[in-house]
Symmetry: C2
Subunit: 164 residues, 2 copies
DNA sequence: CCATAATACTTTGACGCCAAACCAATGGGG
DNA sequence: CCCCATTGGTTTGGCGTCAAAGTATTATGG
């Protein structure tokens, strides 16, 4: 990593070296954290993608959302949503239901098993990952803020739910 | 994102809220940056994974490395290396060669086309991504340092090449 | 010196992500 | 009122990642 940065500078790309190093760094940290999360979730039959959907539904008022809404909130492609919901449904954690008035849209409704599993997954993640990042609380907050700056600079806008 | 953090606090998981927010944030930033990079590289027939291999070979003394070494340096699974090299070889940017003394190992050797494409890709990335992260240089460095701290806390050690 | 362990790569299979093409249903504008 | 654009999901196909099993080859210990 430091070596790559050196190579950049030595080739006259010094103005881009820090950006390159940052991008590489983010890729690596992502890889590390995702591995930690997925390892912690594996015993519950979940992945991070599935877990995110479960929690999104858990925190929704009625425990059900249109697939499209899920994609928007989690910022993933519709095809990915279809895929994840397929698997959650196969595991009985979610159920597809028709939308009462719009026959185009499909609702994903979380089941009792889905809620149970999501709750247990949260306990595991809180204990094994989220509280074990390895940075002092203040450093952790600063890091989050910097990443938020980067997201905003990239045009990543918050999609607030109706009523917030 | 801020909403998810609120949900954590409201459920008595306040001690894990910042860690959760950080993990989510890293996932999102990774998604944003990878999309930027792959979009910039697409016209050249490259992806970030392929680009990394190309640059690793470019900066190696003789332009050739054992596949296993590539996996170690880039921190990816051997199967991923096989996969990426397959594609680079199909595009004529790399060539598999037998190791002179150890018949088990395969060397990946970069071709002239590989070097050309890697160089052009670097120009594009430097101009369109690495210098356009959207943070002040100082903020960018701080962010990199924080991520480095996190990596080190996670036991991510540098694998220096022989002679550094 | 040979049987066994370790190393290097490939294959297969599962998962995630995205783009493009494809249906089904809704909703305007003529 | 009907045609057509838009919206919502699914399908297909391509790419990347990893784990586990399989094949070769090298290295080692009895």
């Amino acid at each position: 990593m430091a070596e790559a940065r050196r190579n950049w500078v030595n080739n006259g790309w010094g103005d881009a070296a820090d950006g390159m190093a940052l991008v590489t760094s983010v890729m690596r940290v992502h890889q590390i954290l995702l591995a930690r999360v997925d390892e912690a979730l594996a015993p519950l039959g979940l992945t991070f993608a599935r877990y995110e959907v479960l929690m999104l539904l858990t925190f929704s008022r009625v425990g059900r959302l249109p697939l499209g809404k899920i994609g928007q909130r989690l910022q993933v492609h519709p095809a990915s949503v279809t895929n994840v919901i397929d698997r959650l449904e196969a595991d009985g954690m979610v159920q597809r239901r028709p939308h009462p008035s719009d026959m185009r849209t499909t609702l994903a409704a979380i089941t009792a098993k889905g809620r149970r599993t999501g709750l247990r997954a949260t306990d595991v993640l809180n204990g094994e990952v989220f509280t074990q990042v390895g940075l002092k609380p203040s450093a952790l907050e600063d890091l989050f803020d910097s990443l938020a700056d980067l997201r905003h600079a990239a045009g990543d806008f918050e999609i607030l739910p109706p009523g917030l």
